[in-house]
């Protein structure tokens, strides 16, 4: 029982992480129709921000996380204005631009902080949380409520605020949205701000749990793409369901077999679902 309970807890934690990183990517794709490969590097910048502010400058952990979210959100906004806006919905151009941005951000981080050893981020909450036989650290556990909080916040923004509804309209029918007076450019900027901020939040919260290095975004972005594709590109609800599915699938296969096989199975499942339902589990951008 303990083994099953521990696996469920591990699965929840992995799913939360996947949701945090994939929802931002899905949002950007839904509104801007850009396959943003630099999303992993936004995640990396979030982790570096926490390393600098919390581990090196000894700021309070959550303050460092908040700043990381703001910094990466701003980075996304600048990227949209200077780079992605030029792609104008051209998926190939946007993709190539994002690959360029990957290199720019990686090289910038290497130039500033060097390569060397991975950056150690001590746990802010190393205390053990005992849940009746199953246990984890508070540091890992807080990723779950933090993800729920951020996703609920995003959900409320998209549904209750005018600008959020405009964002959804721009994702669904850009031409109709324009006729209704919605600025597609403004929507794209907001989507990029929110999507990048989510990646920044993921990097910031995971920094004490995973290894922080300039190439940490690489493996993460692949998983995020698998989740987004299966969830239905641009579909946030579908992305959350897919995060749960892949979070548990990865955890179970890694526990029973191996992480390499888990990655392989994830991609196979993605291919299978694409073959059966090209629009993903719950369809493209929500209507």
């Amino acid at each position: 029982m303990e083994f099953i309970g521990q696996t469920i807890l591990n699965g929840l934690m992995t799913s939360s992480f996947y949701a945090l990183i994939a929802v931002g990517l899905s949002l950007v794709f839904g509104v801007m129709h850009i396959v943003n490969f630099a999303h992993g590097e936004f995640y990396m910048v979030g982790a570096y921000t926490v390393w600098v502010l919390y581990a090196k400058m000894h700021w309070p952990f959550f303050m460092a996380v908040a700043v990381a979210i703001a910094v990466v959100g701003l980075l996304g906004l600048i990227s949209e204005r200077l780079i992605f806006r030029q792609a104008e919905g051209n998926i190939l151009s946007g993709f190539i631009m994002s690959v360029g941005l990957v290199f720019i951000l990686q090289v910038a981080v290497v130039k500033i902080w060097g390569l060397g050893k991975m950056k150690p981020v001590p746990a802010a909450y190393p205390q053990v949380l005992d849940l009746g036989g199953i246990s984890t650290s508070w540091q890992r556990f807080i990723v779950i409520p933090a993800t729920i909080l951020l996703l609920v916040g995003l959900w409320s923004f998209l549904n209750r605020f005018k600008i959020g509804r405009a964002l959804r309209a721009a994702a669904m029918e850009p031409d109709a949205a324009k006729l209704q007076g919605v600025s597609v450019k403004k929507s794209a900027a907001v989507a990029m701000l929110l999507g990048s901020a989510m990646a920044g939040a993921a990097g910031a919260l995971m920094a004490p749990i995973m290894s922080v290095h300039p190439y940490m975004g690489h493996s993460v972005v692949w998983t995020a793409f698998v989740v987004v594709i299966v969830g239905g590109a641009g579909n946030i609800k579908g992305t959350i369901w897919a995060s749960l599915f892949f979070g548990f699938l990865t955890t179970i296969i890694t526990t029973l077999l191996d992480s390499t096989i888990a990655n392989l199975v994830n991609v196979l499942v993605m291919l299978l679902i694409l073959a059966i339902r090209p629009q993903g589990l719950t369809g493209y951008a929500e209507h």
Binding site: Q6, L115, P122, S135, M210, H213, T251, T254
Partner: protein, 448 residues
């Protein structure tokens, strides 16, 4: 021969002689011939220079009174902690040697220069580094971590007869005659650590081994399994984990489900080690930990120091009173130069290899790679950092290129590794059954 300006004048027709088209055409033809001739001469000269540069025997770096040694190791990436701190020890060694007038080899004094190359622990990059260091920098010896990088560079280094010191004994093979391990002895010390655990903690009867799925990790698993079997300890988990693993929670959950009394880190990369131990700690496990080595600073950033108490390995800090005064002095110098850094065996191991190379060069009276190698192999006893060492390995690795001393066993006590015992590998193998157990495990893990 026409000078440039005259030729230009002819080619461009006349500047002052009017614009007679016939004269102009004639001059252009003449000029074209002269230019072609000049061009061919220049090309021939360039070709001669090019051929001379690449066919003349490369001058030894040592001829200029400077001897260069390559440091081709991971200075970034997950194995950086097995390369980067080595530069600290090497730097102290260089200051010491060059500061006292250099090495006296034969009748000559040499300044030593270390040329570093960050191979990130990646084979293809290590090969690029080896080619650069040998062909461009003319190094006469190479310091490397080993593992996957050895497989990539050894055909090239063997062809060029470059003596190579690695930290991975299992890299020694029959077709790598110039590769030696003169410091670390990995993975041969795993059974020695386990023999100590078996004797000291007789109630510990189940073990789980966690190590990555690469040459280094698999070698650690193979030797550890042999050690556990010889000590009568059951190995309940020894599945290697993928190199791309980022979250160790599921892997540790699976390992802990087997209820191990001993958790062996095998040769998990330092970055992995900290994350694995953090998981073991937060998932509530308590028991005996053993590992090839520790990056103690990285680990204790994740788990409490007291939780690591009693952990068994084989590398003391050099301030251990059971080590020599010279080693204690080295530790003091290192501490003064690198305040706040964590001490690990990597700090001294590459430097230890330099000491062995120096011993060989002084014996040979030459810095030439082949001569140093021959002098080392001709010595029955060679000074290892842990005491006199003898060459061993032919039966297991195909070459007697591993320098084996009495190996120290350390336990973490009050947050520091201290020497608690010494065990000799050759004596351990001589015990009834141990050699067969080892061979069986090496065959199982395709190491033999």
């Amino acid at each position: 021969m026409l000078k440039g300006f005259e030729a230009e004048e002819i080619i461009t027709g006349s500047r002052e002689r009017g614009n007679d088209p016939r004269t102009s055409t004639l001059n252009q033809v003449k000029g074209g011939r002269i230019m072609r001739k000049n061009f061919i001469i220049a090309l021939a000269l360039m070709l001669v220079v090019f051929i001379a540069a690449f066919t003349a025997p490369p001058p030894l770096a040592a001829e200029s009174g400077v001897v260069k040694i390559g440091f081709n190791a991971p200075l970034s990436g997950p194995a950086a902690a097995w390369g980067l701190p080595g530069m600290e020890g090497v730097g102290i060694w260089l200051e010491d040697v060059n500061g006292s007038g250099g090495l006296k080899i034969g009748n000559k004094a040499y300044k030593v220069e270390i040329v570093k190359y960050d191979n990130e622990g990646v084979g293809s990059k290590a090969l690029l580094g080896a080619r650069k260091l040998v062909l461009e920098d003319k190094v006469v010896a190479m310091l490397m971590l080993g593992g996957a990088t050895s497989a990539a560079v050894q055909p090239f280094l063997t062809k060029n007869k470059i003596i190579t010191f690695v930290l991975i004994a299992s890299d020694i093979t029959k077709d790598r005659p110039y590769l030696m391990d003169v410091t670390d002895n990995f993975p041969t010390y795993h059974p020695l650590h386990i023999a100590y655990i078996g004797e000291t903690y007789p109630d510990a009867k189940t073990a789980a081994i966690l190590s990555q799925d690469d040459e280094i990790g698999l070698a650690a698993i193979a030797w550890s399994e042999a050690g556990f079997e010889a000590a009568g300890i059951d190995v309940a988990y020894s599945k290697p984990f993928g190199m791309e693993t980022t979250d160790f929670a599921p892997i540790v959950t699976a390992a802990l489900a087997t209820k191990p009394a001993i958790l062996s880190m095998g040769a998990s990369y330092p970055e992995f080690q900290a994350l694995i131990l953090e998981q073991a700690y937060t998932q509530g496990w308590k028991g005996i930990i053993t590992s090839a080595c520790w990056d103690f600073k990285a680990i204790t950033a994740k788990v409490p120091v007291e939780w690591m108490e009693g952990a068994v390995s084989g590398f003391p800090d050099f301030d251990d009173p059971k080590l020599s005064k010279a080693q204690n002095a080295f530790y003091k110098t290192w501490q003064g130069k690198y305040p706040g850094h964590g001490f690990s065996e990597i700090v001294w191991e590459y430097m230890g290899a330099l000491n062995v190379w120096r011993f060989g060069a002084e014996k040979a009276g030459s810095v030439e790679s082949e001569k140093v190698f021959a002098a080392l192999k001709a010595s029955k006893s060679v000074p290892h950092e842990f005491g006199p060492g003898v060459w061993w390995g032919a039966d297991t690795f195909g070459q007697d290129n591993l320098l084996v001393p009495d190996w120290p066993i350390t336990e973490i006590r009050s947050g520091k590794p201290v020497i608690v015992d010494r065990i000799n590998l050759i004596e351990w193998l001589a015990k009834p059954g141990n050699n067969d157990i080892l061979n069986k495990s090496l065959v199982k893990w395709k190491m033999k």
